[in-house]
């Protein structure tokens, strides 16, 4: 298998996620798109980790970093959904365009 197969899959997933973050208005869907982006990064990390592991079997950094990213993503979703819930309670809407108090 080529390394580029996995890297291109990661790139495609990343760009779809960026499109989702920019094009979606519902805040829960924006968070889902961020999950797509984080998964794209994880594919890259594991692919590079496998590439390193083939030459240096003691080196598992790629996988360890992927695990750290998964842990941070879990924390991010927890706090993010709590924030969305608070915005919903205060404004009865989770439309990203409605949260414009700082706009002059």
């Amino acid at each position: 298998m080529l390394i580029n197969q996995f890297l291109f899959l990661g790139a495609i997933l990343f760009c779809i996620g960026v499109y989702g973050v920019l094009a979606r208005r519902n805040l829960v869907l924006v968070l889902m798109s961020i999950e797509l982006i984080l998964n794209a990064v994880n594919i890259n990390l594991v692919a590079f980790g496998a590439m390193w592991h083939a030459t240096d079997p003691a080196n598992l950094s790629g996988q360890v970093f992927a695990l750290f990213v998964i842990a941070v993503a879990a924390a991010e979703v927890g706090v993010g959904l709590a924030l969305v819930l608070m915005i919903y309670r205060n404004r009865q809407s989770i439309d990203a365009d409605d949260v414009d108090l700082l706009k002059g």
């Binding site: 291109f8 495609i12 779809i16 829960v28 496998a50 950094s61 992927a66 924030l83 989770i94």
Partner: protein, 169 residues
Amino acid sequence: MLALLVAQNIAFYVIAALIVFGAIRVVTCKNLVHAALWLVLVLGGVAAQYILLAAEFVAITQVLVYLGAIVVLFLFGIMLTRSKTGTDTDLDHTGPKRVGAAIIGLLLFGLMGYALWDQYRDQEFGTLIVQRTAAVSDSIFSTYLLPFEVISVLLLAALIGAIVLARRD
């Protein structure tokens, strides 16, 4: 050996097609709950790709954490914000904003694709060795012990923060 390689490639392209299709549905679907369910397909496909990369522990963690916990959290979020469970036309930006988002996505893909192709071209993995869970844990608890502890504190902080934010006074 060659037969194995062919099988690996076929599996890769089938799963990759599923992932890309699911991801496009996640960002275009008009129904919130369906978007969450398409996300399950994407995350499961990514776990399968980890298996192809011989990273078994990350694949299992992906299934446990993402499919088991994060998707359920999303479904709770959808229900708690009382979003419409049926078709909802109010989920996307319209007109120029959406076109702009698509253009930014395509430009980003062009840039990354060029950089990746320029650097790696048709470099092979060589033989993938299974990366054993015991070796991963040895690596976490020796080389990466400090980041691991920091992650623990971060998770605790996120847990307390989420409770404080979402609690009704």
